[in-house]
């Protein structure tokens, strides 16, 4: 059943990847004849690296996802809430972040343009990840991470002291992502943030070519690599937030639907507080679904960038000949 739920996600992302692969290159460049092999080689490296990175992410995600589902299906109920290693729910919550870490680490490579010039040049400004691409693009993962932290803290504060249950008075209750699950999520968030920062610094700091046309190609490749990294991180975070919200929302909603009885066995109507919990549960579920939809959007953008040809290049001599003949 869980795999059936993943299927639409896979189909949407695969369709987007297919459409993206049919798109034209991001940029068209004319380079000196002797630099054409360097440009062609860099382009080929980027596409091969993207393919391998996507393969690594899919394989890792499939293995981890299957392991988690197997653990939930076959594991003993006592394992739920046991500890971070044996509790399959811990792994369910952490899976998107771990897959995100693998994605970010796999895409943190940019091609080197192999020039043969005697004179090499370099800019005298310090390159940072902010050098490439618009600054607002950085706000998206930061805002999503802030929201995830807020959700973890909020759920942690309202959960029972054991950090994995939510209950109303002595009445209904259920499993809940309190601090018992939230603290490992914060740990996972710290790990993916550290890996992302290292990857972004690596992408920005990699050697640049000397030739102006190749620098333009280099800009394109770095921009794509940075966008893939940021979208992968954001997708991992929004997926995690979605899981927590749907889990918490389901528990709250089912609590409101639970029929309580008094001491004489007469069913009690749900009081105002319990009804409010039910409303919050519905809101939580829909917010979680919105997070899943956002995840699909970020994944499509990442895959779209990863499958796209960064640039096409033509030698100056070829361009001159074609212009002359036309």
């Amino acid at each position: 059943v869980e795999f059936a739920l993943i299927l639409p996600l896979v189909v949407i992302v695969a369709a987007a990847a297919f459409l993206a692969a049919r798109r034209g290159p991001l940029r068209t460049l004319v380079v000196a004849d002797e630099l054409l092999p360097a440009a062609v080689s860099a382009n080929r490296y980027f596409r091969r690296r993207s393919l391998l990175a996507m393969l690594a992410v899919v394989v890792f995600g499939a293995v981890l996802g299957a392991g988690v589902i197997f653990g939930i299906r076959t594991g003993s109920p006592e394992l739920v809430g046991s500890n971070i290693v044996t509790d399959p729910l811990q792994w369910l919550v952490l899976t998107p972040l771990f897959i995100g870490v693998v994605a970010v680490a796999s895409f943190a490579f940019v091609p080197r343009f192999r020039e043969v010039a005697e004179v090499r040049t370099a800019e005298l400004t310090r390159r940072t990840p902010l050098t490439f691409g618009p600054r607002w693009a950085w706000a998206v993962p930061v805002v999503s991470a802030t929201l995830l932290v807020a959700i973890v803290v909020w759920f942690g504060l309202i959960a029972e002291p054991d950090g994995r249950m939510f209950a109303y008075d002595d009445g209904p209750g259920g499993g809940f992502p309190g601090f018992s699950y939230g603290v490992p999520v914060l740990g996972g968030l710290a790990i993916i943030a550290a890996v992302a920062i290292a990857a972004l610094l690596r992408i920005a700091g990699a050697p640049r070519p000397s030739d102006a046309a190749l620098r333009s190609a280099d800009d394109t490749v770095r921009l794509l690599a940075l966008r893939i990294t940021l979208n992968s991180v954001t997708a991992a975070i929004t997926m995690t937030a979605g899981i927590l919200l749907v889990w918490a929302g389901s528990t709250a909603e089912s609590m409101a639907r639970t029929t309580r009885i008094d001491l004489s066995g007469v069913p009690l109507p749900p009081d105002a507080a319990l009804q409010a919990i039910g409303v919050w549960g519905t809101v939580g579920i829909w917010a979680g679904i919105a997070c899943f939809a956002a995840t699909v959007g970020f994944l499509v953008r990442a895959v779209s960038d990863a499958t796209r040809t960064p640039f096409t290049s033509a030698a100056v001599s070829e361009t001159v000949v074609s212009e002359t003949t036309s």
């Binding site: 005697e118 004179v119 090499r120 040049t121 370099a122 800019e123 005298l124 400004t125 310090r126 390159r127 700091g205 990699a206 050697p207 640049r208 000397s210």
Partner: protein, 114 residues
């Protein structure tokens, strides 16, 4: 932009030091400008990191840059006056194909006689 000529017999660290020194003294690199990291510049110029580190160390010894945890920054220095640079430009124009070494030698001779 800094350039490194592989066919120039001048050692790479000296080429870097000289260009940076000129840029700082002429004001092309202003006070507080953050230079690229040793690793970044070495990667771009495709030379060993130690070569760039040596150039930076010599610039620091000359009082042109200072290194801290934030990186290597250009210090406040007295720039070469604009009139002097204009005079140099006139002098260069009058050389008639004479090389840089000979031009500097001529200045040195006259400097000594003054």
């Amino acid at each position: 932009v800094i350039s490194l000529d592989g066919s120039d017999p001048t050692p790479p660290f000296e080429q870097i030091r000289r260009q940076l020194s000129d840029d700082i003294r002429t004001g092309a690199l202003g006070s507080g400008h953050r230079l690229p990291s040793v690793r970044q510049l070495a990667g771009d110029l495709r030379i060993a990191a130690g070569t760039v580190a040596r150039a930076y160390a010599e610039l620091e010894a000359e009082g042109l840059v200072e290194s801290s945890r934030r990186g290597t920054m250009v210090k406040q220095v007295d720039h070469i006056p604009v009139e002097v640079r204009e005079s140099a430009r006139v002098y260069i124009a009058s050389l008639g194909g004479l090389g840089l070494d000979d031009a500097i030698r001529a200045v040195r001779v006259e400097w000594g006689s003054n």
